[in-house]
């Protein structure tokens, strides 16, 4: 466990998760399941982002116990990916919500959640 490293676990599981999500998005016919797929894809990417920012044996980027302005750059993990992930989560939430809103509207119109029933526009 020690030599694999936490960041690699996060990276690897993020990759798996996003691939599973993408797979779900592309193959599930049920619109709700497609949205779940998208949420998984999004979460997977967030994990990857965290993994990228992780620095081994360093502490949280908060000035306080053992972290001073002078040594901060050496002991803390890079705070930027964490900030980015927060933003990305918010955006992902927005898009997922919008997708669900659309799913509701579509169901109201056709009483169906099968993506194959919405092919009137083509060519």
């Amino acid at each position: 466990m020690e030599n694999i490293g936490l960041e690699n676990i996060a990276l690897f599981s993020g990759l798996i998760l996003s691939l599973v999500g993408l797979w779900g998005l592309l193959t599930q016919k049920n619109i709700i399941k497609m949205i779940v797929g998208f949420a998984l894809l999004d979460t997977g990417i967030h994990l990857i982002m965290i993994a990228v920012g992780y620095v081994k044996n360093s502490t949280a980027p908060i000035i306080g116990e053992g972290v001073t302005k002078a040594n901060a750059a050496d002991v803390i993990a890079d705070p930027i990916p964490q900030a980015l992930v927060l933003t990305a989560i918010v955006i992902g939430l927005g898009i997922t919500a919008l997708m669900l809103a659309y799913a509701v509207k579509m169901h109201q119109k056709k009483k169906s959640l099968d993506i194959n029933h919405y092919k009137d526009l083509k060519w």
């Binding site: 996003s18 993408l22 998005l25 592309l26 193959t27 016919k29 619109i31 497609m34 998208f38 894809l41 999004d42 990417i45 990857i48 982002m49 990228v52 930027i80 990916p81 980015l84 933003t87 990305a88 955006i91 927005g94 898009i95 919008l98 997708m99 659309y102 799913a103 509207k105 579509m106 119109k109 056709k110 993506i115 194959n116 919405y118 092919k119 009137d120 526009l121 083509k122 060519w123």
Partner: protein, 1041 residues
């Protein structure tokens, strides 16, 4: 200067504030929104003017008190100022357009509209990669929210497809962004550019993911089905937002990020764009839904612009000019067309004939279509011109070909649409209801397009003001459309007269070639315009169209640079298209005329590119071309032959000329065809006929001319329609002219000039006469005429003189033409071709006889017993031409002697000697004046004798006769007119079999079938579209790694 940060502050502040007042009156909320968007526009426009005036330099605004990479920075350079101005002005006008809809949907829609617009501004301004991602998502969410302005099931499902596709794309973008951060250690774009992360494999992959996500946002073919569905089903104001606003911002993102990527990837970007340009436009051909069609066109235009960005290394200092003008053309035209779609409310393009009920809408539609296609005088014309010139300078022949093919495919569906608007059936369609707020924005954009065109032209350093004077005159005439036709006709003739007065004397001194053609164009124009006094009412649209054509014709004569020539050439094509399509059944003919003309124009453009690359942009420098001379010569010849309707490229002519209005037929036949001849002559004079490559092409052209003459004359003989007969006769006559010039000897060219002048005069006489007869008897079919000599003697005399001049019988100038012609053939030694031409000449007698016999001779039909002589307004120009042709025949040397001298510069060995009216060659001599005297005396003697005989004749009633033991009772049975040359048709008709028409139809069928087949990839399934995106990424990945 108000800082760019206020753009964001205003939009966000207003959006939050409005959110607090849920109960606010929608009118007030919307007024606030418009004020906010207006302020945003003001900020970006003041920066734009500041940059244009050189008052400000590139300015970077830092946020949060830190410098990047520790904070987000906004850059306001000239490009950013321009693009945000475009976005915000669009936002303002689009807000006006959507006024009612937004009000109906309430506060939330108003807020979303503003936030979306703000998102696009930040996308353009920001220099931080993650910030870019965030606001791209904000804009996407906003747009998808706005799609819900319409609540149809198709709109909703298309919005969902858009979200799914957008979600997949943004996932890749997010991974790319975070990986770039890992390798570059910064999200500041300037840092990433300098950090060279492409050196590592991981960095490459990171950059690739980012680039491909940006490209996918530009809707590349074929991974763009998701966007097409939205374009088709969203509210037209939102589709306009996507196409003009969103796409503009995304294109700028690509432009902004390009320096981050390895230089070798530029080729990939260009190819991706090129494939999209051709693919999207190809599939557009089969499209019938207007908004979806615009979607295809939008994808195509973005493809072209992507290609331009990829090709930037060839475009050097003109890169920005090309990018901006083409982008501007797309932006103005696409917004305008989507807006019009919202006014028309008809989905199918063939219902757009509705527009004709409101002429202003037709004008707007025309401006937008021509802007989109890059026609003069609109900005994208200059952009495309520079693009081709620079690509030619870089030796990128394949790229020139690809861009011209894509443009041509685009023209196919846009002109089909245009045809429906101008000529389609509009009975039974609903009434147009134009709300005032919906018409303002298109009018503004059309005006901007015209002004931007002028500005773009001046940026190229052309002295194009002189070229805009006629256009302003035409615009003035266009504003006077409410006046009756005769007033406008007088203005038009006065304008043409002024043009003649200012140009002809000068040209006579300096350049005989140009003088002759200018004379034909302007004087012919005045004479044919005179016939227009016949028409009552307003004759809407006629005068602007005719004058655009004549301005183009005058322009090609006066042009000094290649650009001026091409500008005028396209102008002439547009004007003549509008004229031709005015005929009752002209829709398809106008369409095929336009397609052949455009293909020809693109051949000319390609040739000009190669010329420009070698010797610069002066028309007179054509002779200095050294490499690819034969190719250039051939391209120019093919281009100009689409206008002279040489065999193979002629199928548009019979319908276009025959179905045109009575005074339009002589304009397009007697006058317009000579533009092609002038172009050929410019090529021949400019590039010389001496070099080995050219002479073999000329040999081919000679044969082509001879066969064209034969087939044209033969087909003319088999026509039942009088105007079609004359139209085919034009093909034949232009065949002679091509043959004469292809000989490239002094005698041949003298003959050629003689034919040009002669054909102009007699074809104008014949088309005016027959056109006027058709106006009187209301039919084109010759077998429904007959005996009209009794009712229209003056028309008969004019037609007789025209036919004599045509058939080359002494004493008129046609004979002189033949004399020079056969002299030239014998001296050149082209005996076989000469024989074909001679045979064609014999066949010309068949149709010459047919038109006189069946229209004027024989028995008068019952329904024509009281038909009147043709109108005076036609007789006056006809008889001016008759007198002209008499004088020209008698004193041919007045014209031919200067021509001979003029040609001596090109052919120093002088085989013709002039002695007064007598011309002598090594084969014999000819004297026009004496021929006239002798024939005149013989004519008077025989006429006197006939009159004397006639006095003794017994007068009989019409049916007091018996033949074949039968007594006829109706005029038809005594008048062999229908299927007149059945025997000849049986023997020789196979030559005129419409094989060439069939060939072109097969080509068209193949292209449309291909389009129909390929477009099935757009299955309508949202998952398929998402899969396209993933597959697209994978394929491109493996192609570049």
């Amino acid at each position: 200067m108000v800082g760019p940060i206020y753009i964001i502050a205003i939009a966000l502040g207003l959006a939050f504030l409005l959110g607090f007042f849920k109960k606010l009156n929608a009118n007030i909320a919307q007024t606030f929104m418009m004020a906010g968007v207006g302020a945003m526009s003001f900020i970006s426009v003041q920066w734009l003017f500041g940059h244009l005036a050189g008052m400000v330099t590139e300015t970077v605004t830092y946020t949060a008190g830190f410098k990047p990479p520790f904070s987000i920075s906004l850059q306001m350079g000239a490009m950013e100022a321009g693009v945000t101005s475009m976005i915000n002005i669009f936002g303002f006008l689009g807000g006006v357009y959507l006024w009612r809809k937004l009000k109906e949907m309430g506060l939330n829609a108003i807020i979303i509209y503003m936030v979306t617009l703000m998102g696009l501004n930040v996308i353009v301004l920001t220099r931080d990669l993650f910030n870019l991602f965030v606001f791209l998502e904000v804009s996407t969410i906003g747009i998808v929210g706005l799609i819900l302005l319409e609540r149809g099931v198709n709109t909703i499902s298309s919005g969902f497809k858009y979200l799914v596709a957008g979600g997949v794309i943004s996932s890749f973008m997010l991974i790319g962004t975070i990986m770039i951060y890992k390798y570059a250690g910064s999200l500041y774009i300037n840092d990433i550019i300098t950090s060279n992360i492409a050196a590592t494999k991981g960095g490459m992959v990171a950059l690739f993911l980012l680039l491909i996500a940006v490209i996918l946002e530009l809707k590349p073919f074929p991974a763009n089905g998701w966007a097409l569905d939205v374009y088709e089903s969203a509210n037209s104001g939102i589709s306009a937002f996507l196409s003009a606003g969103f796409a503009t911002a995304m294109l700028f993102v690509l432009y902004k990020l390009m320096p981050m990527f390895p230089i070798e990837w530029q080729a990939m970007v260009a190819v991706v764009g090129g494939i999209t340009f051709i693919g999207a436009n190809l599939l557009g051909i089969r499209q019938k839904n207007a908004q979806r069609l615009l979607g295809y066109s939008s994808a195509g235009q973005m493809g072209l612009l992507t290609a331009v960005i990829g090709l930037s290394s060839y475009l050097n200092e003109q890169f920005i000019f090309i990018l901006v003008t083409i982008l501007l053309g797309h932006y103005l035209a696409k917004a305008g067309l989507f807006w019009l779609a919202g006014i028309v409310k008809e989905k199918e393009i063939n219902s757009w004939s509705l527009l004709r009920r409101e002429p202003l809408l037709v004008v707007l539609f025309g401006v937008f279509i021509l802007t989109l296609l890059g026609m003069p005088p609109f900005p994208s014309f200059f952009g495309k011109w520079e693009l081709i010139m620079k690509l030619a300078a870089g030796g990128q022949t394949t790229w020139i070909l690809a861009i011209l093919i894509g443009s041509f495919l685009e023209a196919v569906y846009l002109f089909k649409w245009f045809g429906y608007v101008l000529k389609g059936e509009n009975e039974g369609l609903p009434v147009l209801q134009i709300k005032p707020e919906k018409i303002i924005s298109p009018v503004v954009f059309a005006t901007v397009s015209v002004m931007a065109g002028y500005y773009a032209g001046s940026l190229l350093g052309e002295t194009n003001f002189a070229f805009y004077i006629p256009l302003m005159f035409i615009a003035a005439i266009g504003l006077l459309e409410f006046l009756p036709a005769f007033v406008k006709n007088t203005f038009a003739i006065a304008g043409m007269g002024y043009l003649a007065y200012t140009t002809l004397p000068g040209l006579f001194e300096t350049d005989l070639l140009r003088f002759i053609f200018m004379g034909i164009f302007i004087l012919g124009g005045i004479l044919t315009l005179f016939a227009g006094y016949y028409y009552k009412g307003k004759r809407q649209g006629f005068y602007p169209s005719a004058l655009i054509m004549f301005a183009g014709l005058a322009g090609i004569i006066q042009a000094e640079t290649l650009l001026q020539f091409f500008f005028s050439w396209e102008l002439m094509t547009i004007g003549s298209y509008f004229l031709i399509i005015r005929g009752k059944r002209s829709m398809t003919h106008g369409f095929s005329y336009m397609l052949f003309s455009l293909a020809g124009a693109y051949a000319i453009l390609a040739a000009f590119g190669m010329v420009d690359a070698q010797v610069g942009n002066m028309l007179s420098a054509l002779g200095g071309v050294t490499s690819h001379a034969t190719l250039i010569f051939a391209l120019l010849a093919i281009g100009f032959m689409t206008k002279t309707a040489t065999l193979g490229l002629h199928i548009w002519l019979p319908g276009a000329h025959a179905e045109a209005e009575s005074d339009v037929s002589p304009m397009v036949s007697a006058i317009l065809l000579k533009a092609g001849v002038f172009g050929l002559l410019l090529t021949f004079f400019g590039m010389g006929a001496e070099s080995a490559g050219n002479s073999s092409i000329l040999y081919v052209l000679g044969w082509l001319g001879a066969i064209t003459a034969l087939v044209g004359n033969l087909a003319a003989s088999f026509q039942e329609d009088a105007k079609r007969l004359l139209a085919y006769s034009s093909i034949g006559q232009l065949g002679y002219i091509l043959f004469a010039y292809a000989m490239a000897t002094q005698l041949g060219w003298i003959g050629g000039f003689l034919y040009v002048i002669n054909h102009f005069a007699f074809k104008a006489i014949l088309f005016l006469t027959i056109g006027a007869v058709v106006l009187r008897v209301k039919t084109h079919n010759m077998y429904e005429m007959g005996g009209l000599i009794k009712r229209m003697p003056l028309a008969f005399i004019a037609a007789l003189i025209g036919i004599i001049a045509l058939s080359g019988v002494p004493p008129l100038s046609g004979f002189a033409g033949k004399w020079f012609f056969y002299n030239a053939v014998i001296l050149k030694g082209w005996y076989f071709q000469g024989a074909v031409v001679f045979f064609a000449g014999v066949i010309a007698f068949l149709y010459s006889y047919r038109i006189l016999q069946t229209v004027f001779l024989g028995q008068l039909k019952d329904e024509h017993r009281h038909v009147k002589e043709i109108p005076l307004t036609f007789l006056i120009p006809i008889y001016i031409l008759v007198i002209g042709i008499m004088i020209f025949s008698m004193y041919t040397h007045w014209v031919l002697e200067p021509i001979t001298q003029y040609l001596t510069a090109y052919f120093p060995s002088d085989p013709v000697h002039w002695d007064g009216a007598a011309a002598t060659t090594s084969l014999g001599y000819w004297n026009g004046t004496w021929v006239m005297y002798i024939i005149g005396i013989m004519f008077v003697l025989i006429l006197g004798w006939l009159l004397w005989l006639n006095a003794k004749a017994t007068k009989v009633k019409q049916f007091n006769m018996v033949f074949s033991g039968e007594r006829p009772f109706t005029p038809e049975t005594t008048h062999m007119a229908h299927n007149m040359y059945a025997g000849y048709n049986k023997a020789l008709g196979f030559i005129t079999a419409p094989g060439i028409t069939t060939f072109w139809n097969k080509v068209a069928e193949f292209v449309t079938d291909a389009a129909g087949f390929i477009r099935r990839i757009y299955t309508g399934n949202g998952q398929t579209y998402a899969f396209h995106i993933v597959a697209y990424i994978v394929i491109i990945y493996f192609m570049i790694f």
